[in-house]
Subunit: 228 residues, 2 copies
DNA sequence: GTCTATAACGCGATAGAC
DNA sequence: GTCTATCGCGTTATAGAC
């Protein structure tokens, strides 16, 4: 029922032409704008950033493509907002988990849950990030440099916890922390490819399944029956 | 302005001078052609299928874009050949592993090794498959239906081995076979994002690391120290 | 805030000479 | 097997009316 957009007013925030960009801070946020971003995100996720045209985005919103440029400087500015919003939320959640004072295994488990949790909330953004990351990074300008910066910060947080786990004996010492982090990260994010809300398993179930296998392994407790 | 939607007729597949193609089987394979496919695959992997232009492919080969159409019917025909070649090789390797008479854990370990092994041989194809899968599948024609067919066959092979493992007590019974398969598959393929030949670890080391964690878990043997 | 109209450009693909 | 030349179309983005 999101057809409403006749709502004029809301203190017209001038976000255009010469306006800010880059920081994503910004106070007064237009609901209309957010709605457009959300529509665009779904299209980007479904068809890919490049294959999605501004005409399609506009059509989805019930306006013409030219009108989109009243709200955004460019198509890239839209996907920029999609990704930036997601990454800010993700990192904030991770930070909260790190400040929870849990032991490393508890924190790592929580981080896994956070990851799967964002699958539901930010499915479109995660899909775009995965499918179009390398293209966006390959663009001539530096607009998307923050993607790498955010990735690095997340990596630092994970690896720190894995090493803490090894230090206190909760994580086996013979695994490579960086490699292990990548393994975990990839496994979580890539699930957006097939995960659909409302399916057989929700993200919480998914997370528990993964935590179980991740920590205790696929093998049965009987380690004698195992050969390489 | 007419927006009469006149689709390019995709039904008229005209064969190319020089005959043969399609099945990738066989005989007189043009080295020239294969070279072009390889160049294109690298570009597709680096920039994405859509962002790669036929002019770029031709330039890489030192010819002009028009000349490409002596070898291929279309840009799609090129990526088709990239993916088809990879999938045929992958499935052949899996089949060999299944016929090895090993116990389930040995077969599953071998399948993990095969997966990581193809990372080196088919890095570009795997990247394209991951990044452009949904776009190619969304095309109006049925050209890429075989992607799903191949995926299904691979899934069947994995799940069969996981269930066999559970039946003989080598794989714990409380994991979901399908979910576990997806977890493994995703973890392997997605490594193309960061794996670079000649790096700190080769694919064999990568595979062993993963087999270790996958079967025995991240946790230390001391299961009393584990909560949650 | 949206529409009309269009500029400016790059794309995949084709025809025919050589 | 490649080049020259080009067609037809879709694309992002802009300018100005309303």
């Amino acid at each position: 029922m999101e057809h409403v957009n006749q709502r004029k007013s809301t203190t017209t925030v001038k976000r255009q032409t010469g306006g800010r960009r880059g920081t994503s801070m910004a106070g007064a946020v237009s609901e209309r704008r957010d709605h457009l971003v959300k529509l665009a995100a779904e299209l980007f996720a479904r068809k890919g950033f490049q294959a999605t045209t501004v005409r399609q985005i506009a059509e989805e919103a019930g306006i013409l493509s030219g009108s989109l440029y009243h709200h955004f400087d460019s198509k890239e500015a839209i996907v920029d907002e999609v990704l930036r919003t997601f990454l800010e939320d993700l990192i904030a959640r991770y930070r909260a988990a790190l400040h929870s004072d849990g032991d490393p295994r508890a924190v790592l488990s929580e981080m896994v849950r956070i990851g799967f949790g964002t699958l539901e909330l930010h499915r479109a953004a995660i899909t775009v990030m995965q499918n179009d990351w390398s293209y966006l990074r390959s663009l001539p300008d530096n607009r998307f440099d923050y993607l790498v910066k955010a990735e690095d910060e997340v990596e630092r947080m994970w690896i720190e916890q894995i090493k803490r786990g090894q230090a206190v004996g909760q994580v086996r010492g013979d695994v490579d922390p960086k490699l292990t982090y990548r393994m975990i990260r990839d496994t979580i994010w890539v699930a957006v490819r097939w995960f659909r809300p409302g399916g057989r398993l929700n993200t919480a179930g998914l997370a528990e399944h993964y935590v179980k296998v991740l920590f205790d392994g696929l093998a049965t407790g009987d380690r004698t029956s195992q050969q390489a």
